[in-house]
Symmetry: C2
């Protein structure tokens, strides 16, 4: 008889932030039941979903081992830290505080300072109130993906701690965030130049089953071609 998974994940096939949580769950061997929130249909702004996350954004995670009055956990980086705490092995953060800070900083360069600029709610504002046409929106997307990824490239190519992955030779939350951006740029038709270290690391990530299985096109709801 199938058991109910411990986790429930509010998700959508395409989003970068959901991808991060999927990789971490896969990497740690944790199972989640996914509940689809159709961003194209605007379900993230439904009254039902706003009760899950008042910001109207996915992912959101329920751990059935939390107490009954615990609201779902939101924000991809907060979810990754939570999973790291409740299932520390295999680890997604280094053991030393400096290494952890470096990994968290690289993650935030993309999850905080890049991705929030190209979310659906920003698109909605810029293409209505902001007066952006499709070309202006695409230029905006390209500008911020390029800014964020080239800054990460500069850091990775400079720092001696960079290895096979962003920090040493095992994947961390930094790699998850890097791969999460490159997982969606092709969907938007964006190509970022001059990021050889980033591209090398993403190629390493794709060899890891936890990352490969999380690819947007392999999710329920993805277009079939």
């Amino acid at each position: 008889m199938p058991t109910t998974p411990r986790f429930e994940l509010f998700s959508f096939w395409r989003t970068s932030a959901t991808y991060r949580v999927r990789v971490a769950l896969n990497f740690k061997g944790l199972e989640a039941h996914e509940r689809n929130v159709d961003l194209d249909a605007g379900e993230q702004r439904s009254k039902e979903f706003l009760a899950v996350n008042p910001l109207g954004a996915i992912p959101a995670l329920i751990d059935h081992e939390m107490s009954a009055d615990s609201a779902p956990i939101t924000q991809s980086l907060a979810i990754l830290e939570y999973l790291e705490e409740v299932k520390p092995t295999p680890a997604l953060l280094p053991k030393d505080s400096y290494g952890r800070a470096r990994v968290r900083a690289i993650a935030a360069m993309l999850a905080s300072d890049t991705h929030p600029l190209i979310t659906p709610r920003v698109k909605k504002y810029l293409t209505t109130t902001g007066g952006f046409d499709a070309a202006a929106w695409k230029a905006w997307q390209g500008h911020w993906f390029t800014t964020g990824l080239q800054a990460v490239e500069a850091k990775l190519s400079h720092d001696s701690q960079t290895g096979r992955f962003a920090h040493g030779d095992a994947p961390t939350i930094a790699d998850i965030c890097i791969a999460s951006i490159l997982a969606v740029t092709p969907i938007f038709g964006i190509e970022v130049a001059d990021i050889p270290t980033v591209n090398r690391i993403v190629a390493e990530c794709e060899k890891v089953e936890a990352f490969a299985k999380a690819a947007p096109k392999r999710q329920v709801g993805a277009p079939t071609e």
Copy 2:
């Protein structure tokens, strides 16, 4: 004879992200030598500073106890986590993993999903390439501050874990991020309506010396009136 402080902080009087680090340092009784990066003069884009942070953003922190080949730690939330690890008491995160996740999520609602939208580099893009005039930029600022703070308000007023502060009765990283936004909205002439719980918590924060001392107007470089 004065000793050299353990920490060096690249900072500017006005910024929300630097404020967060100042509060945490004050709260934990840690001393930092501040190195001013004049954002109004564009010093964050100088070659010298880009070597510190390729994203051209402050804050950045050097811990003189790190090894010599360690690049400065960037990203305010990564710095806060680092300070929490190297000086755990007094704590800025709850002890339980769910509580920590909730605090990190509230922090990220503002530090990741709100503040990056109103930074100087976004202003630069929107008011040049983006064609925004001063009124359009101010409307943009108001929109995202309102969206982020009202979402935090909805969460705080809903969750049973909210206490005197955002999570229980002691300040956490969540309160630091909330106060960091309200520390700068008056500078921008922005007032956000319908956030009574947020305002109540910020008033509590202001009673705590670690927060009060970090106020932008009390920093070196602030306008004298």
